[in-house]
């Protein structure tokens, strides 16, 4: 048996054929590859999502390492390429499109039209709003899973997921703004990332 067949069988053994097929036929776009996006991408890749579109224009720097899924030897690399490398180390047969661009109102449709689900994982609130409004207005078949409020040392139990419309889910505590707290802590950002990743898998599973 080839390594690829073995990998596939191990996954089916854990999650069952039905979920395997639902996940492996899906395309998810992750917009922003920081503390949220880097962890969401790894979780979805491990779960067997078939294709990820990774989008970010930034590069890895020293201040990212405290909460983002990168390594010291990746400092200076594009986040898209660094994350692609890290994902392939744990999910070698996934299909990845890495796009080293800033998402704007003008390119939302062209960059995201192939995605079943768009994951908003930006840092800046106006970019978050631009992406969520843009996807909901202009990509009528696409789901969006966004995040708001995961900064600081607040209780982990305040992070939650809300379904706002048939196609729009929001994760976070909705209030903890990075500018009003001591900053971002990996564990709380990862909680929010886990909410987003799990919500995406639940949508794919038809839950």
């Amino acid at each position: 048996m080839s390594l690829k067949q073995e990998w596939r069988e191990a996954l089916i053994n854990r999650i069952g054929l039905s979920l395997y097929e639902q996940f492996s036929n899906a395309t998810v776009a992750i917009c922003g590859l920081g503390g949220l996006g880097s962890h969401i991408a790894i979780a979805l890749a491990r779960a067997g999502v078939g294709k990820l579109i990774l989008i970010d224009f930034d590069h890895v720097d020293m201040t990212n390492l405290h909460r983002q899924c990168y390594k010291v030897n990746q400092i200076g690399c594009n986040k898209t390429e660094a994350l692609l490398e890290n994902i392939l180390e744990v999910a070698p047969y996934i299909d990845i499109e890495a796009i080293n661009k800033k998402i704007t109102e003008d390119n939302i449709v062209s960059l995201l039209k192939d995605a079943d689900i768009v994951c908003e994982a930006f840092d800046d609130p106006s970019c978050k709003a631009m992406l969520v409004n843009g996807v909901l207005e202009r990509l009528p078949d696409c789901y969006v899973v966004a995040a708001s409020g995961m900064a600081g040392m607040g209780s982990p139990n305040l992070i939650k997921t809300r379904k706002l419309t048939n196609r729009f889910y929001l994760c976070g505590d909705e209030v903890s703004d990075v500018k009003n707290t001591m900053g971002l802590v990996s564990s709380r950002v990862m909680l929010c990332a886990a909410h987003q990743a799990h919500t995406i898998l639940r949508i794919l599973a038809g839950e």
Binding site: P125, S126, K128, A129, L164, N166, G172, S176, V189
Partner: protein, 64 residues
């Protein structure tokens, strides 16, 4: 009455733009749903709130 983020407000007849102007919301960081549909930003002026509408305003905060 119009329900906005769970609160009953006496704003039926106002447009979404008019209502937002009376609040502290920053238009650059929000998304507005009315009766579980997104309201296009270009329609905030023309969308008149009706009795029993349910409006949800999401105001994004920074961090990611």
């Amino acid at each position: 009455m119009v329900k906005v983020n769970g609160k009953e407000l006496d704003i039926a007849g106002e447009s979404i733009s008019e209502f937002l102007k009376s609040t502290d919301y920053d238009l650059r960081v929000i998304a507005v749903e009315r009766n579980e549909e997104i309201v296009l930003k270009s329609m905030y002026d023309k969308t008149i709130l009706k009795d029993e509408d349910v409006v949800e305003i999401v105001s994004f905060v920074g961090g990611g």
